[in-house]
C-alpha cells in the first residue's frame, strides 16, 4: 500500500439478497485530499461507506484504512463520521453531546474548542431537541470533528443548511484539508463537489464509472455546454444528435452537447428559433459530466 493512501479498496463485492450493491469496487483516498464520491440514489455510495467504516462485511475484495481492517479501534480513533441523519438525545445540551463524543478519543477537542472551530458556539447551551434541522446538521458535523480525525467521512453534510452555514462548513473543510485531514464526501450538490473536491469518483451500479480531478472528469466526456434564451423546449432538442442532456435553468435552455456535434447543434438552434438570444458556449461543468456519465452507465 502506498504510504499516502489512507483508504485502499480493491475489487470489493457486496450483495443484499439478489441486489448487488457493489460490483468490483475500487477506490483510494489519499492523504490530505478531499475526495467526492458521487452517484445517483442506489449507486452504492452508502454501502461503500458502511464497508469502509466496518459496519458491514464485504462479500469479497479487500478494504484497508491506515493499512488496517475497517472497524478496528485504532482505525475508529482516527476517523470522524457524519451520517445523513442521526437521532441524538433531545434532552441533552449541545456541549454535553460534544463532551460525550470527544471522550472517545485520546486527543479529542474540548466541546468549546470544537464549537468555536465549527462556528457553532451560539448553540452551546441549547437542547438538541429544540434545534432546527440545519442546526442539528451543524452539531452532527461538530461531532464528526470531535476526535481530531485524520480521515473524515461526510455523507450529504450540507443538506438543510442555510447559505451562511454552508459557507462556514465549506470554510472549515478547507481549513481541515490545510491541516492535513483527508475527507471523503458524498453529496448531491455537484457545485459543492466542484468547489471542494481534489478528486471525483463517480459510482454507478456499484462500479466506478469515472474518476479523476474535476477537470479530468469533465474533459473525458468531450462535452460542451450551450446556454441560450430560446422558445425551444428541452423535449424538442434532447432528441437531436449529439445532445446528451437538455434542461431549463433560470429561464435559459441549457444543453450538454458532444464536442463533435457542437457546430451542427448551434446552427440548428439558430435555424429552429429566430428569436434565440444570449447564446453562450462553454466547457461542460461537473453537473453535465455527471449526468452524461450516469446516463451512459444506465444504458
Amino acid at each position: 500500500m502506498a504510504s499516502e493512501d489512507l483508504v485502499e479498496i480493491k475489487d470489493v463485492y457486496k450483495s443484499f439478497g439478489d441486489t448487488r450493491a457493489l460490483d468490483g469496487f475500487d477506490m483510494t483516498v489519499r492523504s490530505g485530499e478531499l475526495l467526492a464520491l458521487l452517484g445517483e440514489n442506489g449507486a452504492g455510495k452508502t454501502t461503500a461507506i458502511s464497508l469502509m467504516l466496518g459496519l458491514e462485511p464485504a462479500d469479497a475484495g479487500q478494504i484497508h484504512l491506515f493499512g488496517e481492517r475497517p472497524g478496528s479501534m485504532d482505525v475508529r480513533r482516527r476517523i470522524g463520521v457524519m451520517f445523513q441523519d442521526v437521532f441524538l438525545a433531545p434532552e441533552l445540551l449541545v456541549h454535553e453531546h460534544l463532551t460525550i463524543f470527544s471522550s472517545y478519543y485520546p486527543n479529542g477537542y474540548s466541546a468549546d474548542e470544537i464549537l468555536e472551530f465549527t462556528h457553532t458556539t451560539a448553540l452551546r447551551n441549547r437542547k438538541y431537541g429544540v434545534l432546527s434541522g440545519g442546526q442539528k446538521r451543524q452539531v452532527q458535523f461538530a461531532i464528526a470533528l470531535c476526535g481530531r480525525p485524520q480521515l473524515l467521512f461526510l455523507d450529504e453534510p450540507t443538506v438543510g443548511l442555510d447559505v451562511q452555514a454552508r459557507k462556514d462548513l465549506w470554510a472549515t473543510l478547507r481549513q481541515l484539508i490545510q491541516q492535513g485531514c483527508s475527507i471523503l464526501l458524498t453529496t448531491h450538490y455537484l457545485e459543492e463537489a466542484e468547489a471542494l473536491a481534489d478528486r471525483i469518483v463517480v459510482l454507478a451500479k456499484g462500479r466506478v464509472v469515472s474518476s479523476g480531478t474535476v477537470k479530468e472528469v469533465t474533459q473525458t466526456i468531450s462535452t460542451r455546454r450551450i446556454t441560450c434564451v430560446s422558445q425551444l423546449t428541452p423535449e424538442e432538442v434532447t432528441t437531436w444528435p449529439g445532445v446528451s442532456t437538455a434542461v431549463v435553468e433560470d429561464g435559459k435552455l441549457v444543453l450538454a452537447v458532444a464536442h463533435t456535434e457542437l457546430e451542427t447543434t448551434v446552427r440548428r438552434l439558430l435555424a429552429a428559433d429566430s428569436t434565440l438570444v444570449d447564446l453562450q458556449v462553454s466547457q461542460a461543468g461537473l453537473a453535465d459530466a455527471f449526468l452524461k456519465i450516469t446516463k451512459e452507465s444506465r444504458q
Partner: protein, 267 residues
C-alpha cells in the same frame, strides 16, 4: 484568529493509544449523561423515581395493617411495590429508548466512531441501577418509619441487595425489546410485557389456582420469593432459593445474549 481557534490549528494528529483512565472516563461520561438525560425526560425521570414510593405510601394510608399482622403480611405489599418500582427503569430505559437509538442511527454512529463496545448499554444499566437503588432505599426507609415492616439492619441490606440485583432480568427484557422492535412499537410492547407480569406473578394478590402455574414463567415471581425470604417472611421456593437465582440468571443471560445477537445482525 482568536486563541481557541489558534490552539485548534496548532494541534497535530497524535497517538491513538488511550490510558485506562481515559477508557474508564468514557464509561463514566456515558453513564453520567444517560442519567442526566433520563432525569430531563418528563416521561421517565420523576415518574420512575416518585411513582413507586408514592403508590406505596398511598396504599399504606388506604389499607393500614392490624397489629397482629404476620411478617409475611407486612412484607407482601412492600415487596410487590418495590419490584414494580425496579421493573420500570430497567424495561423502559432499555426498551423504548434503545429502540429509538437503534432505529434512528445513534448506535450505528457510535459503532462507527470510537465508543468502546458496550459503553452505551452499560450506561443504561447503571441508570437502571441508580433508579432502583433510590427506589429501594426510599421504600425501605418509608416502610420502616411508618411501621409497615420491621427488618433488622442485616435483613434490610439483604433485601436491598436482592432487589438491586433483581433489576438485571428486567434490563434483559428491555434489552430484548429494544433490540428487536421499532421505535414506534417499543413503548407499547414494553407495556404489554410489563403489565401481565405484575398480575400473573402474584405480586399484589394471590393468583386463582387455575392460572397460578403461569407465575412459573414470570421473573417477578422468582424475585418476589427471594426478597420475601431475605426479609424473613413466609415465601414459596420452587426447590430452594438457589433454583430461583439460577432461573433468574439463566433468563437474564439467555435474553441478553439473544438481544446482543439481534443487535449485531441489525448493525
Amino acid at each position: 484568529m482568536n486563541p481557541t481557534a489558534a490552539a485548534v490549528e496548532k494541534r497535530s494528529f497524535g497517538s491513538v493509544h488511550m490510558s485506562n483512565y481515559q477508557l474508564l472516563r468514557i464509561y463514566f461520561i456515558e453513564a453520567k449523561f444517560e442519567f442526566i438525560r433520563s432525569l430531563r425526560n418528563p416521561g421517565f425521570g420523576m415518574p420512575f423515581l416518585i411513582m413507586p414510593v408514592g403508590l406505596f405510601l398511598l396504599f399504606i394510608t388506604l389499607s393500614p395493617l392490624p397489629e397482629s399482622a404476620t411478617p409475611a403480611q407486612r412484607m407482601f405489599l412492600f415487596t410487590g411495590m418495590a419490584i414494580l418500582g425496579i421493573m420500570g427503569p430497567g424495561m423502559y430505559g432499555f426498551g423504548a429508548i434503545l429502540a429509538g437509538e437503534r432505529q434512528y442511527g445513534l448506535l450505528r454512529l457510535k459503532q462507527a466512531l470510537a465508543m468502546p463496545a458496550g459503553a452505551h448499554l452499560l450506561a443504561k444499566f447503571c441508570v437502571a441501577l441508580i433508579y432502583a437503588a433510590v427506589t429501594i432505599v426510599a421504600m425501605i426507609v418509608a416502610a420502616e418509619l411508618l411501621g409497615r415492616i420491621s427488618l433488622t439492619f442485616p435483613q434490610a441490606v439483604l433485601v436491598g441487595l436482592t432487589l438491586l440485583l433483581g433489576v438485571l432480568p428486567f434490563c434483559a427484557i428491555g434489552f430484548a425489546i429494544g433490540s428487536r422492535t421499532s421505535a414506534h412499537l417499543a413503548a407499547g410492547v414494553t407495556t404489554v410485557v410489563y403489565m401481565p407480569q405484575l398480575y400473573l406473578s402474584g405480586l399484589f394478590f394471590p393468583m386463582p389456582p387455575s392460572i397460578s402455574w403461569l407465575a412459573l414463567f414470570m421473573p417477578p415471581f422468582y424475585l418476589n420469593q427471594l426478597v420475601l425470604a431475605a426479609g424473613g417472611a413466609e415465601h414459596m421456593f420452587i426447590g430452594n432459593g438457589y433454583v430461583h437465582v439460577v432461573v433468574l440468571a439463566t433468563f437474564t443471560l439467555l435474553l441478553s445474549w439473544s438481544a446482543a445477537r439481534s443487535m449485531a445482525r441489525g448493525s
